[in-house]
Symmetry: C2
Subunit: 211 residues, 2 copies
């Protein structure tokens, strides 16, 4: 009777199943590492440089998926050797449709945040993972409404938190997210850089039901 | 010219202004303490017991505001003495409209989470703060969509995280929030227990413009 409860086959928790597989997170973002840890998935971080280029006419969805897949392509050998490799890319689309990357300096960071103040912008994260000959990719979009931020709030944030490494020049999990994000629609973790619930679902499809 | 920049009066950051006022958080929730800290507001925690009773016909909005105000009433003396006192209350409204409190035990916690699986529920937090003769209260509602959670995911969460102290038997900031919350609509911090952006806005109304 072990493994069968109430007539249904008892499934192994995804997290237990994944403990038997070597996992690589192909991202240098400490925030993605923290999110994957919070999912209780063990992994090593390996970063390989890729060109994050895209055609200006492409949709944000296809851009982030293409970049995540391109990052994953650097790990084909590890996938073939039985590693699960997870890569991701996040972009911020300003209210005017412009794609915001990382700011050049503090003044540029303040400008970026000012351009998002009192408006709704969109954050897209694309994820690609590979294991043996399996490749899965997807993307999620979250809408974020910022409050009217005062000049001194923006200056305080930029000076104290140095958001130079963040697309759109802010971290929703930091002070400015607490005091300035009135509302979101979508996944909160997606804004930080990894749509964790969607990732759990997609990993379950591969590792719990098909293997 | 100090204090005037570009023709506009330069405002003091709310957080700087509040450093001159003794602040009390009237809540024993460690999650509310963490959120207020993340707002960079300094405070002491003082907990006073109140009866959290309400009429079953009342709306969730009015229930959480009434309980928060009742909690604040225990601190009238401190308010009169120049303390800023902040109180809050959070409830979870199940998909069937039932108000979920804290679970009785692990089995009840698992039942509660099961009842939220694959559906949308609502989380309401009411906040009341007082300072001298000023009293302000408000509430926020966030919609939360949970994924289809497997029995073993629920069992793993309840056993490992003991969500007995949480209304609705889950913490969105914990493992189950990462792997199970597909989408929210509203403030993420409101689900944890304190709508921080709204609180910043309401505190600014009192402490930056009127004082």
């Amino acid at each position: 009777m072990v493994g069968v409860v109430g007539g249904k086959e008892r499934m192994m928790l995804l997290q237990e199943r994944l403990r038997t597989i070597p996992i690589i997170l192909g991202s240098k973002s400490p925030r993605r590492s923290a999110l994957l840890q919070a999912m209780e998935i063990d992994f090593d971080v390996i970063v390989r440089e890729t060109q994050e280029t895209f055609e200006s006419g492409d949709s944000p969805d296809s851009i982030v998926q293409a970049i995540a897949k391109e990052k994953l392509n650097q790990f084909n050998e590890e996938c073939a050797n039985g590693h699960l490799v997870i890569c991701a890319d996040t972009i911020v689309v300003a209210p005017n449709g412009e794609i915001l990357g990382k700011p050049n300096d503090a003044a540029n960071a303040a400008e970026m945040i000012q351009s998002l103040s009192r408006k709704c912008h969109k954050v897209y994260t694309g994820v690609a993972f590979g294991y043996r000959n399996i490749r899965v990719s997807f993307s999620e979009c979250t809408k974020v409404w910022l409050a009217l931020l005062d000049a001194e709030e923006i200056a305080f944030y930029v000076e104290r938190y140095h958001p130079i490494d963040k697309a759109g020049a802010y971290g929703i999990q930091e002070w400015i997210g607490k005091i300035g994000v009135e509302k979101i629609e979508g996944s909160y973790e997606n804004v930080i850089g990894l749509p964790t619930a969607r990732l759990q679902k997609e990993l379950k499809e591969v590792f719990r039901y098909k293997n």
